[in-house]
Symmetry: C2
Amino acid sequence: MSTFFTPGPAALFPTVEAHYAEAFRQNIGSISHRSAAFRKIYQHADEQLRILFGLPKETAVLFTGSATEIWERAIMNTVEHESFHLVNGSFSKKFYDFSKELHKFAHAMHKPFGEGFDASEVEVPEYAELICCTANETSSGVQMKAAEIHKIKKANKDKLMMVDMVSSAPYTNLDFNLVDSAMFSVQKAFGMPAGLGVWLANEKMLEKSERMKLHEGIVGTYHSLPSLWENYKKFETPETPNVMGIYVLGKVAEDFNKIGVDVMRKETDRKAKALYDFADKSANFEIFVENPNHRSATVVVLNCKGLAGDVIKQVQAKSDMILGSGYGKMKETQIRIANFPAVNEEQVQALIATLGSL
Amino acid sequence: MSTFFTPGPAALFPTVEAHYAEAFRQNIGSISHRSAAFRKIYQHADEQLRILFGLPKETAVLFTGSATEIWERAIMNTVEHESFHLVNGSFSKKFYDFSKELHKFAHAMHKPFGEGFDASEVEVPEYAELICCTANETSSGVQMKAAEIHKIKKANKDKLMMVDMVSSAPYTNLDFNLVDSAMFSVQKAFGMPAGLGVWLANEKMLEKSERMKLHEGIVGTYHSLPSLWENYKKFETPETPNVMGIYVLGKVAEDFNKIGVDVMRKETDRKAKALYDFADKSANFEIFVENPNHRSATVVVLNCKGLAGDVIKQVQAKSDMILGSGYGKMKETQIRIANFPAVNEEQVQALIATLGSL
């Protein structure tokens, strides 16, 4: 069986298939989304995610079709005029582009592909309403540490702060008493099949959306924050959601909590260190992100001496391991290695052995 | 094992669980949505749905998170100023409400709950850009026959026509050379777990959206028609979609095509006739929709002499069959029986026997 080191969709967490089988056994594909059975499923996912992320009671757990959707909904619901974006790769740029497409005045601070941001150099424009950070730029393997994100918020307490943690949740240890909102999708570190986005948003986000709506703003319909939140209060969703996905997410979050998120973070750090140490000594690979503080723990990007496509083919042929290719223009020169909880230390060591043998 | 006669989420089609198991076996939860493997899955679903619905080449098959989402996207993308809605129940009203929430001028022709529309009585306002029909009003069990929908379009050729066929696809035999767009979700007659919406839209819909965008209209971001369509041309999606859902939908559509959609429609008619004939003669039940032409073939709504909740409980206790309750205010007096392909003639006869024995 193939081992997926791709950065999303990614390897399934080992318990996922059994959780789906149990969901079928329990008729979870047929139950009404207006039933007590569904409300229990939502409540369970909510409880487990609250533990995992240390959410204060002011923060809601909301579901959408994808994390991409949440970029759009967040802008529509909390930016009346101006947003501010830290852009250093393809995904942070998409978030920025969405704001422009929605006819907002989108400010950005740009960094070259492969570089990261420190709070000390970030100046947030005066009238920006929402600060958009990317905790892990999946395209370039650059992370922004929670501490840096927190500093920006502390220096801009009057503004809302939204963190894209798509490929780093639950590794990024955000303080949700500071950060107003974050989002992720389930096909990355949660190791689930795609089709569900998770939006963590606090009451300040809701209040902003309600204010915009009152002032004749268009905040969307069923997936506006007021609509999502109103339904959330009774553990329901505005539309028929991905019920099985919500069920399995609750179960996976419970599995994570049993291991303990701190244990998982340390394991992620050890695996990342092993991969970076290997590349550092290798003659065939080179760490792409120069600044060690900005190197992602969850998506390791390496420059290849030879053609990246050949490396990917050889690793698959030799060990049935699937690596991610470099993003966009980097396809020919880089490989991306997802270091998510679904791949354990033995698997990472086996990958290192294979890469070392090429 | 329980038999679900609920109108959505509903009974799973008998092949669905095996298709999911095969999807896990093939690592479909882990493959990239930018890979040839995914494009093949999308293409297969596209081919099978084209056969099932008899789609002309001008019509695209697009995927969203839910059918609810498509109400919003259709209005955002094709209504610059005015929409027109046929409203006769909770779901057609939501479609109408969405248009108002998006600050469009939404016209409506209203009928009381339980009544339907004939083309001859429908007058479409002069400046309406999009005509919104509901082929099957899931809340009241009222259908609008394809022939009536076609007549309205023929009388309004300059306007776009969008059909909500959420709980009647693929039963409603629409002519997609006439109708510009239709949508459904997979947890109704396709008998799949929820979490995927299907949007059939032709080039006229796309052109309208492109024109609106050119004139500074806000048509959304990743799920705007131009964005969905651009990706569709290479069998990709803008975001990471519900890949497993798309795979299973292609397989279920293939299963349907093997049976033949005409055979399935006839079976639906026979099962509906059996249910209505039973109610007609029963002392405990009464057909809710008076006009036989407007009675839904896919969602049968019956008035109960006693408390509907008691009927539902007794049927479950006696035969492990799950009925739908009446929608909203009708919860105490009505039951709703989904007559989808997942329940066969024997199961419908068994339900009739149980209802008759109460």
